[in-house]
């Protein structure tokens, strides 16, 4: 059993209205050092696979086909083995 920790982030240059709103809110709370905020997604996917290689390949394809939108998002992931 594997746990894929997937990070989906907006590509640089893509406007992030939610990130901007949070940035302003932090600055309004006197965190004057805040330069920029970008918001992404974190997903945890528990999957059964015959070995780590298989798990990696599966996760890669999940990200490519569904979890990330390649027009505006990048993805990366970490894979750990867990007890079922």
């Amino acid at each position: 059993m594997y746990l894929a920790k997937v990070f989906i982030t907006l590509k640089p240059g893509v406007l992030d209205p939610q990130g901007s709103a949070v940035e302003k809110a932090l600055q309004a709370l006197d965190f004057s050092g805040v330069q920029e905020v970008r918001i992404g997604k974190y997903l945890e996917v528990r999957l059964a696979a015959k070995d780590k290689g298989q798990a990696e390949a599966d996760t890669e394809e999940m990200c490519r086909r569904l979890l990330a939108n390649p027009v505006i998002e990048n993805y990366r992931f970490e894979l750990v083995e867990v007890l079922s």
């Binding site: 893509v14 209205p17 979890l67 939108n69 027009v71």
Partner: protein
């Protein structure tokens, strides 16, 4: 001419679109459940507005994998007329049938309001009933209508005259103040290069009857009828603009 309106789990505007096509325009129209795998016999397919799959993950991200979408892609590839409205547009983008992506409105709020649209291209099967540069009024209702495409894609859209509607003011001026959601270039609707797949965020089915405050939306459906029945079939046998390139005919 036979219309089909696809219904995904979570679609809301399917009945509204069917009402306009069936009752107001008096045309044959069916609901098409998302599990259907064949679209034989249909001339125009509409992907309606709503919240397919709750808009979970991203708007349209899950609906694009519905069984019907393979048939929709084949339908588009053979030149059938395909119209995506609001969530329908979002699904077409996720499916890659149109280029670009949708993001949340820059206000981060849902917006329901009337908008003015400028007809940038009236040479499409969906806008033939309009004059070039005509200003029409159609309502929007969405939380993610902020269209994005990278610079290369945007340039290609402009070159190919694929931007069909832009948000404008009542005089037709395309300004930031007239942009309700932050959409790039005030883009409200685009068409594919082949000219048979249109996606638009505003809801034409919501202004097709006087009693609801306007009839500009009806002209989009009239344009479709006009394009089809004028027999302006192109070489491939469908009323699109591919000139037979895709189907291999000359």
């Amino acid at each position: 001419m036979k219309f089909g309106v696809v219904v995904f789990p979570g679609s809301n505007c399917d009945a509204d679109v069917k009402h306009v096509i069936g009752e107001v325009m008096g045309q044959p129209v069916d609901f098409i459940w998302h599990q259907t795998t064949s679209l034989q016999g249909y001339d125009c397919i509409v992907l309606p507005g709503g919240f397919s799959y709750g808009d979970y993950l991203r708007t349209g991200a899950i609906a694009r994998f519905s069984p019907v979408m393979q048939a929709v892609e084949r339908f588009a590839n053979r030149g059938g007329l395909l119209l995506g409205i609001c969530n329908g547009f979002q699904i077409l983008l996720e499916a890659g049938l149109l280029p670009g992506a949708m993001q949340p409105n820059h206000s981060l709020q849902f917006r329901c309001m009337e908008t003015f649209l400028k007809i940038e291209n009236n040479q499409t099967p969906f806008t033939g009933a309009f004059a070039p540069g005509q200003v029409i009024k159609i309502p929007i209702a969405h939380g993610a209508g902020n269209y994005y495409a990278d610079p290369a894609t945007l340039a290609a859209l402009e070159d190919g005259r694929q931007i069909v509607f832009r948000y404008c003011d009542q005089n037709g001026a395309v300004t930031p103040a007239a942009n309700p959601n932050g959409s790039l270039g005030n883009i409200a609707g685009i068409i594919n290069r082949e000219g048979n797949v249109l996606g638009m965020m505003p809801h034409p089915e919501r202004c097709a009857e006087e009693i609801l405050g306007g009839v500009d939306g009806r002209l989009i459906f009239s344009s479709i009828l006009k394009a089809w029945s004028a027999g302006s079939r192109c070489a491939c046998g469908n009323s699109c603009g591919c000139r037979g390139e895709r189907s291999g005919q000359s």
